[in-house]
């Protein structure tokens, strides 16, 4: 009669099993804490979780480019997700937008930025910096080039600069003609400002042209007629018939001139503005021009946050409402 003899388990195997069990316990606890943090958000920002998740999963394929124009009321805040996963935050809305955008970026895991672009130093474009800079990581912020003289004498701007210093973020000058990124798949070129002083700070806005496959996106900050005329002069062919336009200056009558739209002729236009704002945005004359020259127009005051997404061939628009 044979008798089985208990085999002694090697000490190394016991150690490995114990380590695995401890790892699983820690992973479970970390996951539970993370989920709890996510559910704790009670703000009414209209970017639902599934919206963020969907955009991220599309980009996880590493072949999609998307531009989110966040609903920050009267102001501007856009997030560019590039096909290789790089993220660029373009403006940060006003002071009230900061906590909402910061929360959304944090909960969506969109915090490691390639760079930040501060198109120009008006408070409705940089005012949300405090809560946003708490959650994002980057080492570079693009400002309108020093030669434009673009600056502001507000405490908002001073505090923004102090926050950048504290985070160790350095400033790069943005000047027309330069590239922020350029590779075999896509490029991001700066079309404005030119290296001279502008009387109107809006015209010193950094304007970006993003080219990917068959499509191009024109992101204009608050650029007005003077800047548009300069772009037409220097980059007419490059910005002819873009697919997407982020309409300049929240739809004011002083932006998106007839001569500009005639060249750009976008298939899709997004406008960022606050509902019932007192500034006549979007101005009826501007809307008339957009209707004439644009394929489809979307507004954050009516449809909440907006996303333009493309694989370089097809494109789609998603709205939060």
């Amino acid at each position: 009669m044979s008798r089985s003899v208990p085999r002694k388990v090697p000490a190394w195997l016991v150690a490995v099993i114990m380590a695995a069990v401890i790892f699983l316990i820690f992973a479970f606890i970390a996951n539970a804490l993370s989920a709890k943090k996510g559910n704790g958000n009670t703000n009414s920002y209209d970017l639902p979780d599934e919206y963020a998740s969907e955009s991220r999963s599309l980009n996880a394929d590493l072949d999609k480019l998307s531009f989110h124009l966040l609903d920050v009321g009267q102001g501007d805040c856009g997030l560019l997700e590039l096909p290789d996963g790089k993220l660029i935050l373009i403006d940060m809305g006003d002071k009230d937008a900061g906590p909402k955008v910061g929360n959304w970026l944090s909960q969506s895991g969109l915090t490691n930025l390639f760079c930040l672009v501060a198109t120009h130093p008006h408070a409705d474009h940089i005012g949300g910096f405090k809560e946003i800079l708490k959650v994002v990581n980057t080492d570079t912020a693009y400002f309108p080039s020093e030669s434009t003289g673009a600056s502001a004498a507000t405490s908002t701007y001073k505090n923004f600069l102090k926050a950048l210093v504290k985070k160790g973020i350095s400033v790069e000058d943005a000047c027309a003609g330069d590239y922020i990124l350029s590779n075999a798949v896509y490029y991001i070129r700066i079309l404005a400002p030119q290296p001279h002083v502008y009387e109107n700070l809006n015209n010193s806005s950094i304007v970006l042209l993003v080219k990917y496959g068959e499509h191009s996106l024109l992101l204009t900050g608050d650029a007005e007629a003077e800047s548009e005329a300069e772009m037409i002069k220097d980059y007419k062919d490059e910005m002819r018939r873009v697919t997407f336009l982020k309409v300049g200056h929240h739809g004011s009558k002083t932006s998106s001139t007839e001569s500009f739209l005639r060249i750009v002729e976008p298939e899709v236009a997004f406008i960022s503005l606050g509902k019932d704002n007192p500034y006549h945005h979007p101005h009826p004359s501007l809307m008339k021009r957009l209707v004439k020259w644009c394929g489809a127009i979307y507004r954050t005051d009516e449809e909440g946050s907006l996303t333009f997404i493309t694989d370089g061939s097809e494109f789609d628009v998603k709205t939060a409402r």
Partner: protein, 68 residues
């Protein structure tokens, strides 16, 4: 109170208050205001005594059938 002009939007001066929130001021009140300018708000109590006296007189007249 010091208000710093952040920008001009159509008919409004958008000015930064000390708590860094923004306030819209009708542009007609300071048509020459430019970005970075300071608008100072001051309170003067009892400094319009003449106007108050005139109003008082008018009220009195109205209440007493035109007799002051």
């Amino acid at each position: 109170m010091r208000l710093i002009v952040d920008r001009i939007e159509e008919d409004y001066i958008v000015a930064e208050m000390p708590d860094l929130t923004m306030v819209n001021i009708p542009r007609v009140l300071a048509p020459d205001a430019k970005e970075g300018d300071v608008i100072r708000l001051s309170l003067y109590r009892n400094s319009n005594a003449k106007l108050k006296a005139e109003i008082k007189e008018l009220e009195s007249k109205l209440r007493h059938g035109g007799r002051s």
